[in-house]
Amino acid sequence: MERKSMEFITIALAASFLLVGLASAAETPKAAAQKAIPKQVMHHSSSAAATAAAAKAFEKVSAELYPKAKQEGNLIVYSVWDVEHLKVITEAFMKRYPGIKATYWQGRNPEIVTRALTEFQGGQASWDVVLSDNAPPVIRAAGAIQNYETVQKDVLYLHDPTMPTVSLQIQALAYNTKKIKPADLPKSWEGVANPKYKGLIALDDPMRAGPLSSMLSGLKTEWNDDARFKKFVAGLKALNVPVHKSTSAMFRLVISGEYSICMPALLHDVMEELHKGTPINYSKSVPPVLFPRQAGIYVKAPDPNAAKLFAEWLISEEGQKTIDSVGRESSRNDFKSKTSIESAFGKGIQPLPVTDQFFLEDPKKWLDTYVKPIWE
């Protein structure tokens, strides 16, 4: 009987190995060919004619895509956005386009990338569009995003010819109004590295794919001056202040008075707190950092027309109003709201876009190349 028991254990373990084999067979580990890196274009403003042309182009593409999308009948969205926001957005979309059932799955960026690419490698036609900030370029780099250029590109702040930018993540220099006077604030991002701010600053971890690293990428592109960039990162390092892996938690600690300045905060968080009367504000003279939030359409999308229609609708005026209604920033340069750059920072401000595709597609390698040697 003892032999028999060993046999059973062996059989069970062999069965598990067999399952592993099947699972690995389901996956087709194929190195996706690195495509030519698309160039992002920045438009600071657009004319009334551009707005009208975009509206006309949207109506046309919408009329073309809707019947096909209706035939597909479904839309599956993977997103990092809050469930409450996704519910409002998908319901507005379904109301506008009856006959298409939109469902969503929500996770954080690493979870989205893991799920989307594991399914891609497993050959699954399981999702249509990914709606996020950091995730779409990473998924595209693996060859899992099909190129789609929006017909409304001329009204976008940031335009990527392969993935429609449907919203922006805007970073601002926020501060606790009880702890520091506006006059004492840094006048630029570079000014944060001034030693006088030691002990006052809460710093996002620059060695993670977070807001500070994307800002560093934007600054590096903008300055195009390695010595200046190195000096800035070294200055931040010399502050010897705590770094945070959770931007939101860091922001709460600034509100609580643990720190005076938040490097950086997300504009929609600041706006929401301002509305509540929280002692927080942001510097209007420090240029906002613009990070694209894109709609990446899956190469194996089961409902590709619904996905394209959804991306176009999100950029349309109606879609942008819906995005704005949940507190997220518009991606259009002709859209006016409290979080639009002109309203929030005033005319003449020069935003700092994050457009370096090397950073967007492989943040780890970018950080290892440009930041790690100075930071660690």
């Binding site: 009987m1 003892e2 028999k4 028991s5 060993m6 059973f8 254990i9 059989i11 069970a12 373990l13 069965a15 598990s16 592993v20 699972a23 690995s24 996956e27 580990p29 993977y78 809050d82 469930v83 409450e84 469902t103 969503y104 929500q106 996770g107 954080r108 690493p110 979870e111 893991t114 799920r115 490698q121 497993g122 050959g123 699954q124 990473v138 780099a141 060859g143 899992a144 971890d205 060695m207 993670r208 705590p242 945070h244 892996k245 959770s246 939101s248 938690a249 709460r252 600690l253 509100i255 609580s256 008075g257 643990e258 720190y259 509540k276 009367g277 929280t278 002692p279 780890k364 950080l367």
Partner: protein, 556 residues
Amino acid sequence: MRQGTLVPLVASAFVGAAIMTPVLVVLWRSFTAGRLGFSVGLHLTNYLRVFSDKDILAMLGNSVWYAGGSALLGTGLGAFLAWVVARTNTPGKALVELLPLYPILMPPIMKNIAWILLLAPRSGILNGMLQQFLGIETPVFNAFTMAGMIWVFGLACVPLGYLFLLPVFLSFDPSLEESAYIAGAKPVRTMFKITFPLAVPAFTSALVLNFLRGLRSFETPVLQGTPGNIKVFVSRVYDSMALEFNTGLATAYSMVLVVLSIVTLYFYIRATRFSERYATITGKGYRVKVIDIGLWKYLTFASVLLYFFVGIVVPFVVLIVVSMIPYFDYDTFMHFPFNAVLTNYHTVLNHPSFMGGLYNSLVLSVSIAVVTVLLGIVMAFTIHRTKAAGTKVFEFIGTLPLAFPPLVLSVGLLIIFIGTPLYNSLWALALGLFVAYFPYAFRNASGSIVNIHKELDEAAWVHGAKWRHVFFKITLPILKPSVGGALFYIFIEAIRNVDVAVLLTAPGMEYGPVTLFEYFRVGQWAEAAAGGVIYLIILIVAVSLAKFAFKIKFSL
């Protein structure tokens, strides 16, 4: 091997296979190099990177300090509370039995937030009070230190220690202690020489579990460790996933935790290898003896109250206030209740998945608790009662999932389910939760079964009983107190699971915890506090009702 024990052996083998499949997928993953989507062949690249990581030893050192300190604090305190409740004449028995249970209901991340608000050096409530009322300017407390981390996670480890030890203390054969008294030993000496040594298997089981939980825990190191520049090993695993999108590297880093877990388990097995030494439940009839500890009973009563106060009242009060004030800072906090608002509760109650997801999560959590506990006992029974060769291997297999950070484990599960009819179904989620929580059920059963003397079931075996008679008529009834505790613990853990569930929920599937705990994940602390308060009230009411309606007792 005994005759008629094939069924538990086969059942354990299948459970073992269910656990080993994702574990082996993860292991295989660790040999695939490159980012997700770029995996190329089988390599040792990931391991070469792990072992050439110059920070690895320092980070492992921090991890061992943090996990070890928390496990010792939590399990020790839990064991003490269990002893007070089970073996002493501490007054207010009904209340004292119930009080240590309630802190289990509060999710660890809620405790993290509450304690950060209490102990932050410059804005913390306690430092603020010391400054305002005693004029102490220099911050006394600091949440962003190793001590702060151990304090917060240690408190989260107490329930496991309490639930593992309570049944053992409740099932002691008093003749062992009586012999000590007859030999002239005082109660305290008896406690240290007889009572506690007999609880070693259950204590070590809880300690091992809490240690492994600490090794892979992420929230406390991220929220409290990073601002204090304390880097723990598991952050490398998460960085590999979140920054590099390299599951192979993440799993290679996880293998270090697996090796640590195996070493820990090896020592546990060695420490408890003469299991008959720890048998406290024998064939002889007895009544559990309560020790009269004299005036000390008021101190033990106060200590239970103090734990209840620190474990749940203080953080709960902080969360209630935070959920009702417009924003958190010391002044606003102290101005409560004159500035109370209910907007966060309105937001949470209108959350699209708050009610819809509750049904799925309730059904799943109850089912998972029942199935894992039952199969956990079957596996422990197989190891300790069937005398079949090689069953010790289950001791490792049954605990293995706990060595993996949840995100890594869920990748293994995801790969298994893709392409099968189970994918994107509740079954996949249920199986995922089963694998994730089986170690708790198994370790609890394994620790408890050692305390049952073999003479009880041997009497049945020699009379020709089949395994089912021994299992259902002897083992299971005797294990009733630990079964109750394990069911309760796994239900509570499963109903708030996010890390494993998030990758296994389907688009459109409403699963309460994933969406409700989104507030914690995105750092909306006020809404998170409001959600946590509602959640906690629902659970306290549900658990209290269940306890009284179904007469659930954690005693014999």
